[in-house]
């Protein structure tokens, strides 16, 4: 896997032909500064110690690798392990990244932090990191998402963050990123843009991947302790793809470990109403990166659909496009229907209510496990807990609460 190794530090931000820095000139100096600062901090012992402190004492790392005995028994195939990122502070893996980047912002002397959010999980995690580190947080969120995730909007307010509703375009995550970029162009001297996934211009996909790789590193040592061997397959959901890259990255060189990224199939790929960028998109350029996008023949970016706001993005992190291109990871899609079924299944069999995002991974894992041998091992990254989705699922099932 010589080819993969070199993307530890992608020169010019390129993963193969994917990635890059397609941003207005005004932002170039800011992303070059950030790259320089990050490369310095990455190996700074004091920075590492500080981040480790907040990850363990504040966010609750390490998270358990839980053997889902009941689910395994019910499916009757491979052993299913769950990486419990849902147990982190804030209820999702997002805090791994926001603590890291907020610490960078502080080191760079920036006092104002902006972020985009879809489901609101990244917004909440940004608000938390900023509150604890004494930074001012302003969050851009599409009006459509504000309606879908009211609870998270209030949580952000409680945490002292200001939420800016975005009413341009499709009023979802894509447009929240557009608006955050417009803010950044205007206030670049004082403001740090804290991107929430492995997307955007270089160095963001690299930085976010590095901070999220704590997930895969822990899986590696935990599965060795429990099973004394590597897993056969890793499964994670992919919107922008940060929990998936964080899960996959430490395993890229373990060639026998199969990697599966699960995209949001919405009403089904054939319906055209989905968010499966890698499975059904084309190469394009937006938000600073060359990667797969859902777009029309003229290059206009499509609006997407998924029951889970966190996967509702028309693009995907460039490193995923690269992993697909070399065949190292496989990408599949799961519909709203199947995701909700898996959501209900895990709630009943294991007493864990998963977020709708990893419910997509679970649905695929249940299928895959059934086709595998009993001593095979699967790890599913449970990227968040489902409290935020309870209303959405109730509506979906036409239950009044």
């Amino acid at each position: 896997m010589k080819e993969i190794k070199k993307y530890n530090y992608p020169i010019d931000g390129k993963y193969g032909k994917y990635g890059g820095r397609f941003v207005p000139e005004t932002l170039m100096s800011a992303i070059l500064d950030l790259e320089k600062e990050y490369l310095r901090l990455k190996d700074d012992q004091e920075f590492k110690r500080e981040l480790d402190y907040y990850l363990s004492e504040y966010a609750g790392r390490p998270t358990p690798l839980y053997f889902a005995k009941n689910l395994t028994k019910k499916v009757g195939g491979a052993k299913i392990y769950l990486k419990r990122e849902d147990l982190l502070h804030g209820g999702a893996h997002k805090i791994n990244n926001t603590l890291g980047q907020a610490l960078i912002a502080k080191r760079m002397g920036k006092t104002r932090v902006i972020a985009e959010t879809g489901a609101g999980q990244h917004g909440v995690a940004t608000a938390m990191a900023c509150a604890v580190l004494g930074l001012k947080a302003e969050i851009y969120m599409g009006e459509e998402d504000i309606v879908r995730q009211k609870l998270n909007v209030f949580r952000m307010n409680l945490l002292g963050a200001k939420v800016h509703p975005v009413n341009s375009g499709s009023r979802t995550l894509k447009d929240a990123i557009n608006e955050a970029l417009r803010d950044w162009v205007t206030n670049v001297k004082t403001t740090y843009y804290l991107i929430g996934s492995v997307v955007g211009p270089h160095p963001y996909p690299m930085i976010v991947r590095d901070f999220q790789s704590v997930i895969g590193k822990e899986i590696k040592s935990q599965i060795m302790k429990k099973e004394n061997r590597m897993p056969d397959a890793l499964i994670a959901c992919v919107g922008g793809g940060s929990n998936a890259i964080g899960t996959f990255y430490p395993f890229l060189d373990e060639r026998k470990v199969e990697l599966y990224g699960v995209e949001a199939g919405g009403y089904g790929i054939e319906s055209g109403k989905h968010a499966a960028s890698i499975c059904a998109g084309n190469e394009g350029i937006l938000h600073g990166m060359l990667t797969y996008f859902l777009q029309n023949e003229h290059g206009q970016i499509c609006t997407t659909h998924s029951i889970s706001a966190g996967l509702d993005y028309p693009g995907v992190g460039p490193e995923h496009s690269f992993l697909k291109s070399i065949g190292r990871a496989k990408y599949v899609s799961v519909t709203d229907d199947k995701a909700v079924k898996a959501f209900l299944e895990l709630s009943k069999t294991e007493g864990i209510i998963p977020a709708l995002e990893p419910s997509h991974s679970l649905a695929f894992a249940i299928e895959l496990a059934g086709s595998m041998k009993k001593d095979d091992l699967i790890v599913v990254t449970l990227s968040g807990r489902g409290d935020k989705d309870v209303q959405v699922v109730a509506d979906y099932l036409k239950v009044k609460i």
Partner: protein, 276 residues
């Protein structure tokens, strides 16, 4: 007449260039041609025609809305290129295309520039394409005889400016401020300083045109006096279109009157001082 020749001709006359921007297909394709003619006949020296994109991250609310209206009208990138040809049937001034990189990338570089060349496009501006990513783009555009106009901003270092000057042709587009497109009432002193700083590197090499926030005749006059060779005005034209969307005559009259005012502001009052 090429972009370069246009700037030389204007300089000899003691004038700066008025570069006027509208969005292709806003509000309707047939109207774009009429608006373009009005802009040219009342004094625009270079026309900048936008190809709409779903996610215009460098644009403020006014031009964002124009993108949406144009997309709604059903206009395609190829159709905007064809409009250039149509306008050139009447007027020979340079026409520059402005769009985001995905539009070109999706069409394919070779294909896009081949079509642009056949439509007599003179130059192209892509606000989300920095020089780091522009090697193939520049090569192919120049091969098809199309100028690649790059942007420099208040955050551009001297080192980067040198690199940008290697890549830009036709003119250098100075982004006047930190921010997105959109009319501003005032002209910042920092804009004047920026023009003075950058012109010390570009004098005699390549023309400078200043855009973002330029909407008033006095702003045009100030930036030309500070050493810019041209002023780029976009959002105020788009605003006129938006405000008189149901009244074509009023729209065209207002466009003519406003263009006239802006053009007058590009003319040096004392031509002699210029030739010294």
């Amino acid at each position: 007449m090429s972009i370069k020749e246009t700037f030389i001709r204007l300089k000899n006359k003691g004038e700066g260039a008025l570069i006027s921007y509208i969005m292709g297909g806003d509000p309707r394709p047939d109207l774009t041609i009429k608006i373009a003619k009005a802009l040219i006949e009342s004094g625009s020296d270079i026309l900048e025609l936008g190809i709409p994109f779903s996610d215009p991250i460098a644009d403020g609310p006014t031009i964002q809305a124009a993108n949406l209206r144009a997309l709604k009208s059903g206009i395609t990138p190829i159709r905007v290129l064809e409009m250039v040809n149509q306008i050139k049937d009447y007027h020979k001034i340079p026409i520059v295309i402005l769009t985001y990189y995905n539009i070109i990338f999706r069409a394919g570089l070779e294909n896009f520039f081949d079509k642009a060349n056949k439509s007599k496009v003179d130059g192209i501006i892509v606000p989300d394409l920095p020089v780091e990513e522009a090697q193939d783009y520049k090569l192919i555009a120049n091969k098809h005889g199309i100028d690649t106009i790059f942007l420099a901003s208040p955050s551009t270092s001297t080192n980067r400016l040198r690199k940008i000057l290697d890549y830009t042709s036709g003119f250098l587009y100075i982004v006047s401020l930190f921010g997105v497109t959109g009319a501003r009432k005032k002209l910042k002193r920092s804009t004047i300083h920026l023009i003075e700083k950058i012109s010390s590197y570009t004098k005699g090499k390549i023309p400078l045109a200043v855009g973002f926030g330029i909407s008033q005749p006095y702003q045009v006059k100030s930036i030309i006096e500070a050493g810019a060779d041209g002023a780029i005005v976009g959002s105020s034209f788009v605003k006129i279109i938006e405000e008189s969307i149901h009244d074509e005559n009023k729209m065209l009259n207002n466009i003519r009157r406003y263009t006239n005012e802006l053009k007058r502001a590009t003319i040096f009052e004392d031509v002699k001082s210029l030739s010294q």
